[in-house]
Symmetry: C2
């Protein structure tokens, strides 16, 4: 089933906001209230969800736990795809420490780097392994996804190698666009932090002056 | 001048790809070749740029250095907005180490945390300061932007405080959506890493099987 990227991103937001509600002990939420929480219209939410089945009831709203579980299944979260991280520098190490992979559908099974000063060090329960052993590791453990935190000019070379070793998905933190380099069987999510920061820069440099505000 | 977010993101991509060309010593690029590099149409690029002025020449293409400089001005990169980072844990520290702020339009002037074990430690040339001193710091140095790497349940409280202290822009790494909480004079760029990873999970779980591929 092929869904557009904007719809997938909205489903992720619904999933995240349902978690907040569940944490707060809220069992059900009116579709109107959920829409207000999300800053969207109730009909947009209904439209996104109707594609996958029938959720929510007239006069009852959404059952938070049920919808959360259903969205998790739609997003493939229970699959826990085996995943490796390449590049255990500042950003890579921070991701290992900061991200709850299982919570987002992945299981981190290996961390690799080629810097001698990093190989053998520990990040959480992961010992950083030498990139020299990546081929043997992939043949044995068949990771399906890879997180790329390598220098920009190594991005394509590393990705090419991993594709040959069976990796099918990349969470790409380099500044190179990997999407479009491979056939459609390889999926890529680029996280271009510099682009994001520069977007904020433009918004700040061109924000509406207070005198013109409507709100 | 108000530009849509998708256009701003494309301008950031053009800027980033022009940097690669300049690094490679390429002085000019045909609009067709630039479009291929970006995976877009030449007319889309022309349309995005025409909004800001006349760039590129028939039969010559784009002068990489000139267009890069012009895009930098459009994106407000030379402004170097004074910026603080709140939350010097794993992710916050990684951002200080990893991001070239000046390159993206910001100057990092302070790093804050409330954890006693972090206050006083150094990240790059920044000594982590105690959040208790944030008010005095803002009154003296007037930061315009803040990077939020605080725990999710502190996001709104910290943002509210900073807005009262004059901060106008947030680069938000918490899982809470800050956009929409404030008037239009406060700009927010949310970086929801979990949503991004979950998007990849859905793409991987629902990718087109090889037998159905067209490319």
């Amino acid at each position: 089933m092929v869904t557009s990227i904007p719809v997938i991103r909205r489903l992720c937001r619904y999933y995240r906001h349902l978690e907040v509600l569940i944490e707060q002990g809220i069992e059900r939420i009116a579709s109107r209230d959920f829409a207000v929480m999300l800053g969207q219209t109730a009909s947009q939410i209904r439209q996104d969800l109707n594609y996958y089945g029938h959720f929510g009831q007239q006069g009852y709203g959404y059952h938070t736990v049920d919808l959360h579980r259903a969205l998790g299944d739609i997003l493939a979260v229970p699959q826990k795809f085996p995943t490796i991280l390449i590049g255990a520098g500042n950003l890579g190490a921070a991701l290992v420490n900061h991200i709850d992979f299982v919570h987002n559908g992945f299981e981190l099974i290996g961390v690799f780097d080629c810097a001698p000063q990093l190989v053998g060090t520990c990040i959480q329960r992961h010992t950083v392994a030498d990139m020299a052993g990546i081929r043997a590791f992939c043949l044995q453990h068949a990771p399906q996804a890879a997180i790329l935190c390598v220098p920009d000019d190594e991005a394509e070379q590393v990705a090419d190698l991993l594709v040959r070793l069976g990796v099918q998905a990349f969470w790409n933190f380099t500044h190179r666009d990997l999407r479009g380099l491979y056939c459609e069987d390889i999926v890529v999510e680029n996280v271009h932090l510099n682009d994001s920061l520069m977007t904020l820069c433009h918004l700040l440099g061109n924000r509406m002056p207070p005198a013109l505000q409507t709100g």
